[in-house]
Structures are given as C-alpha cells and as structure tokens.
C-alpha cells in the first residue's frame, strides 16, 4: 500500500511541471527577431547582430518567454516599453502610412501605364502600319465576297 502511494505521489510530482509546461505558450527569442526592431540600428533584431540595444531587447524578450508569455503578449509588452516603433510592421498612420501607400500606388500606376502603352501601340499599329497593303475598291469587293463565301461554309 505504501509502495502504491509512493508511485502515485511520484507520478503527481512528475505530471505537475509537465502540465505547466504544456500550458506555457511556446515561443522563442528567435521567433520574434524578424518582427521586432532594434530602433537604434534601424533594422530588425535578426539583422542587428550584437548591438547593445538589440542585446538588451533580446534579454527582455527572453525574460518574457521565461514567464511563459505568448508572442502577442510579448509584442504588447515591448510596445509598452519602447513604443509602437519597436515593431517591424510599420504603424498604419502618419508618415509611416507611406510604407503601404507608395508601393500600392506604384503598382497601380505601373499597371495603368502598361495598359495605356499597350492600347496606344496597338492603335498606332492598326492606323499607321506602312507595310499594310492598301486595297483598291474592286479588290476590297473580291475580298469581301471571298470572306462571305468562307463564312457560309462554301469552299474558296
């Protein structure tokens, strides 16, 4: 009986930390490195090397990971410490909005230009192709008649 109780106690002791670990949101410093900026270096942590501010931010993130915080929670605590500019994703307001608007406008503008240019060159090709043969009235009538026959199924 005493042996069984010992085994049960050992199982409980083993299970409790395992259960706690299972509940812990698993994220890593590396997982956040591309999404968090080293503001002094002006690049994401992943590219900041061993810059002092980057090292300090990594240490801060590691502490939050150790407290079992999830990725979003850690991002929120980073913003609380360093402001919204700590996130690599630029804020959707003010001058930073141009990071989204400029590429979108550039793509739209390029597409409009391409469409305009294609249409123009096609029209120009139709209207002023110097190699296109000019037909006389009698030739035009013969071509029309041939096309008429062809479209009604008769052989040319």
């Amino acid at each position: 009986m005493r042996r069984v109780a010992g085994v049960v106690a050992a199982l409980v002791l083993l299970w409790a930390p395992a259960a706690a670990f299972a509940d812990c949101p698993r994220t890593t410093v590396a997982d956040l490195e591309d999404e968090v900026m080293c503001q002094v270096c002006g690049v994401p942590l992943g590219l900041a090397g061993d810059a002092p501010q980057a090292e300090r931010e990594r240490a801060f993130i590691a502490r939050q990971v150790g407290r079992c915080l999830g990725k979003r929670e850690i991002e929120r605590s980073l913003v609380a410490q360093f402001g919204p500019s700590v996130l690599a994703d630029p804020p959707h307001e003010g001058f930073a909005l141009s990071a989204y608007l400029v590429p979108a406008l550039a793509v739209l503008g390029a597409a409009a230009l391409l469409i305009g240019w294609l249409g123009m060159s096609r029209r120009r090709g139709r209207e002023s192709d110097p190699s296109a043969p000019t037909l006389s009235a009698s030739e035009r009538e013969r071509v029309d008649a041939a096309l008429e026959r062809w479209s009604t199924g008769r052989s040319l």
Binding site: Q39, Q53, S85, F95, V102, L113, M120, R124, E127
Partner: protein, 191 residues
C-alpha cells in the same frame, strides 16, 4: 491619317502626365523624409552661427515615479539634458561624472536632467540605483523627444540656458572640459 496626327500629342500627354505626377509625389515624399529628420542639422548650424535656438518642448514621464516633468519646470536654471540608456557603455562611464556635476550645479541654480531613451524601465532604474543617481530622470520610451533634439547616438548632452535656449551640445560622451568651457559661463549668466 489626320486622326493619328491630332491625337498623338494628346496620347503622349496621358502617358507623361502620370509619370511626372508620380515622380513629383515621390520627390515630395523624399524631401519630407529628409526635412523631418533635420532637427540635428538646424540646431547644430544655429549653434555654429553663434545663436541659441529655443530648446524643443520636452514633457516626459518621470522614470519610476509619478507624473510628468517638463523642461519648462526648470526655467531660470541651467539644465544639462543628458540623453542616455542603460545599455549604452559610454553612458556608464559618464554617469558618475554627471552625478558630481549635479552636486555642483544644485547650489548654483542648475541641474542635470537625465532622459532615458529606448530602454527597459526596470533596467534603467537598476542602472540609476547602481550609480547612485540623484538628479531627475525621465523616460523617452520611443526616442521621439530625443529626435526633436537631433539625438542620433548615445550619450548626447545639451546645455540649456536659464531662458530655455540651447547654448551647447556635445554629440558624444562629455568630459570635464564641457563643464568648464560650456556650463561655467552659463552659470555666470543672470537669471
């Protein structure tokens, strides 16, 4: 034939106009980006001309305390605004000296004001405890206030005269020479 002759310039205009507009917009954006970051240049060039530009407004939360502190709170005093961070090695080296300055300045109508920039507040507080900092400390979490002073590296120190104007800037660690040559004359000025 006549259709082609009349519409050609109009068509060209439809292509050229968006290109000119897009180029103009991009240049405008570029100019804004460059000018928006021009605080450093404008302050430094004013100082180089012998002028004292008005210090930008500064209102920041106290580090580890309650409420905000503003630069205007110290009007009438010589203020040594020191931009620092606990992760910055040269800041560690100059902090004991700034603390000595604070003891000297206090009796002569001046103060050091430490602005902790882009830092974890608990790290900054531990730093302040470790170096026995007694001068007021504020927290500029995203570096916006530092940017208005044109701060690009850490540490940087700005001497503000009794009328709230920037009288000197050291873009890098300060030494005793800064106190003698820059702060002493300011302390002699009348309130």
């Amino acid at each position: 034939m006549s259709t082609v002759g009349v519409s050609e310039p109009r068509r060209t205009r439809w292509v050229v106009l968006p290109v000119v507009l897009a180029t103009g917009a991009l240049l405008g954006l570029l100019a804004y980006g460059v000018l928006a970051g021009g605080d450093r240049r404008s302050i430094d060039s004013a100082l180089a001309r012998g002028e004292r530009p008005q210090a930008p407004a500064l209102s920041l939360p106290s580090l580890g305390g309650r409420g905000d502190r503003t630069l205007a709170d110290y009007r009438g005093q010589v203020v040594v605004v020191n931009f620092w961070a606990s992760w910055c090695p040269p800041c560690r080296a100059e902090t004991p000296m700034l603390e000595r300055w604070q003891r000297r300045l206090r009796s002569r109508g001046g103060t050091v004001l430490g602005v902790d920039v882009l830092d974890v507040s608990s790290d900054a507080l531990a730093f302040a405890r470790r170096y026995g900092v007694s001068y007021p400390l504020v927290r500029d979490r995203d570096g916006a206030a530092a940017q208005r002073f044109g701060v690009a590296g850490y540490p940087e120190t700005v001497a503000v005269d009794r009328r709230g104007r920037i009288a000197a800037i050291e873009r890098g660690p300060v030494g005793e020479g800064f106190y003698r040559s820059r702060l002493e004359p300011l302390l002699m000025e009348e309130r």
